[in-house]
């Protein structure tokens, strides 16, 4: 049973991530008065990309890409998806926080090798943005860990079953708001879509990726999307015992993200950092103090 879960949960994460990408395109199209592509479109794209031949730009180019994808895949093992949680008892939040850095870092190594100025600008933006949201995110996670007195996600989820969603329990309200404010940045949707801005830097780090490499990068993007939403649902919206309910909760968060995506332009990177380090960080800090003061 455990083995099956180990194999099954990354695949499920990939599937849901790709489905979310397709759904995002469909929903965006409907907001823009269009019919939109079929929901399976990203899957078709991935099949097409895998069958194309493309140039590699060196060993680090390949290794970085695989490293980034593998890092994201490993995270999904630690994240409970309803009851499916193969490795969430070992490790916990700290491991996830550590692994979350591997994704951007691997992309940085990989696209740095391609030696395209657009890629280097894009990757510097990506790392800056990661720095931007890591600070409030860490504060939020600290507040959670202090409030629940544990670092294990499964325990945080099961504790929420008794107390209600942590977003709506008294001392964690502020942290919940801060998390909601940085969620678009973590998902990489507009107004924080600065990394891949096609109109500004020709899709940034992905500029030299083609064929199978782009397929892997797309999968990594899908996984990042999945992880961002799943983490939020687990930490703030009480997770779920049932995978179906968990999925529905994820859908709600996903729609929130897409609606924000549809009505905003993208910010400049300096404006994005300034925003992330001002209000969300302040609120998260206040939330942490609140938790420490009122906590047991």
């Amino acid at each position: 049973m455990h083995i099956i879960e180990l194999i099954f949960s990354p695949l499920l994460a990939l599937l849901i991530g790709v489905f979310f990408l397709g759904l995002a395109r469909k929903v965006m199209a409907r907001i823009q008065w269009r019919y939109g592509p079929p929901v399976t479109q990203p899957l078709i794209d991935i099949i097409r990309l895998l069958s194309q031949k493309s140039a590699s730009h060196g060993v680090a180019f390949n290794i970085g890409l695989v490293m980034s994808l593998a890092g994201s895949l490993v995270i999904t093992l630690f994240l409970p998806f309803g009851k499916i949680a193969p490795m969430s008892n070992s490790g916990g939040m700290l491991v996830i926080l550590y692994l979350m850095l591997i994704g951007p870092l691997g992309m940085a190594i990989s696209s740095g090798e391609s030696a395209n100025p657009n890629a280097s600008i894009g990757i510097s933006r990506k790392l800056l943005l990661a720095m931007g949201y890591e600070l409030p995110f860490l504060l939020v996670v600290l507040a959670l860990m202090t409030a629940y007195n544990t670092t294990s996600i499964t325990e945080i989820v099961s504790l929420q079953r008794d107390t209600g969603w942590s977003m709506f329990t008294f001392p964690l309200v502020l942290s919940g708001i801060a998390y909601l404010l940085i969620l678009p940045a973590m998902l990489g949707v507009r107004p924080f879509e600065v990394v891949n801005a096609p109109q500004e830097i020709s899709s940034g780090p992905l500029v030299e990726y083609g064929g199978p490499y782009l397929a892997l990068a797309t999968l990594q993007h899908a996984l990042a999307f999945f992880i961002g939403i799943s983490l939020f649902v687990n930490l703030m919206w009480g997770g779920a015992a049932n995978p179906v309910i968990f999925f529905l909760k994820m859908l709600v968060v996903f729609f929130l993200g897409i609606f924000v995506n549809a009505v905003f332009p993208r910010l400049r990177i300096d404006q994005a950092i300034r925003y992330l380090w001002r209000w969300p960080s302040l609120i998260a800090f206040a939330g942490l103090i609140l938790v420490c003061v009122t906590g047991s």
């Binding site: 395109r25 592509p37 794209d45 097409r48 069958s51 140039a55 096609p198 109109q199 992905l206 500029v207």
Partner: protein, 185 residues
């Protein structure tokens, strides 16, 4: 998706994926570009068929050359085409890439695009309307189905002739040949 299509998906998923996931690098060389925005936006919505514009040639599989090609553009067209991963398809819009169109006596536009890079489909008209563009795309689908959209293979087999033509018009090209040229090995 009708049953016939489903069968095709099972028989040859790669070919079907090529048909329904044409990522386009639009080369806005000319008037043609004016009908591209309507065809990819709300009115005609090319994304229904999986056609979306991408920013770099590496990610693309369809190359749309939208209009007359001036000499300066030809250089970047060749570079872009050679950077695209195979299999790749080329479609040109308008009468000008076919035979020069109304610029038949212009000193700065090339007259026959297919002498410099292989072209899989040419959509005539000045300008082709969005409907015509979609008719062209459906025609390209038929070609892909029948394995006749083989421009990239022809480019490979006739590379020395293509390269000679390119160098004849542009002078010595500054980048190395993509494939080995006959007689030099």
């Amino acid at each position: 998706m009708d049953r016939n299509q489903l069968k095709k998906w099972f028989q040859n998923p790669v070919k079907m994926a090529h048909k329904y996931s044409l990522h386009v690098v639009y080369f806005c060389t000319g008037c043609g570009i004016i009908e591209i925005p309507p065809s990819i936006t709300a009115r005609w919505d090319a994304e229904r068929f999986g056609i979306i514009p991408v920013a770099t040639p590496r990610q693309a599989s369809l190359f749309i050359i939208a209009g007359y090609v001036s000499l300066k553009t030809l250089r970047s067209i060749i570079r872009t085409y050679e950077q695209m991963p195979e299999p790749k398809f080329t479609v040109s819009l308008g009468s000008c890439p076919i035979n020069g169109g109304m610029y038949y006596d212009s000193y700065n536009t090339i007259k026959h695009l297919e002498k410099y890079i292989p072209v899989d489909g040419m959509i005539a008209g000045c300008m082709p309307r969005p409907e015509a563009i979609f008719v062209g795309v459906t025609h390209l689908w038929t070609l892909i189905d029948k394995d006749m959209a083989d421009g990239y293979k022809r480019y490979r087999s006739n590379y020395s002739a293509y390269r000679a033509n390119q160098e004849k018009i542009l002078g010595k090209l500054e980048w190395p040949p993509l494939f080995p040229i006959h007689g030099e090995e």
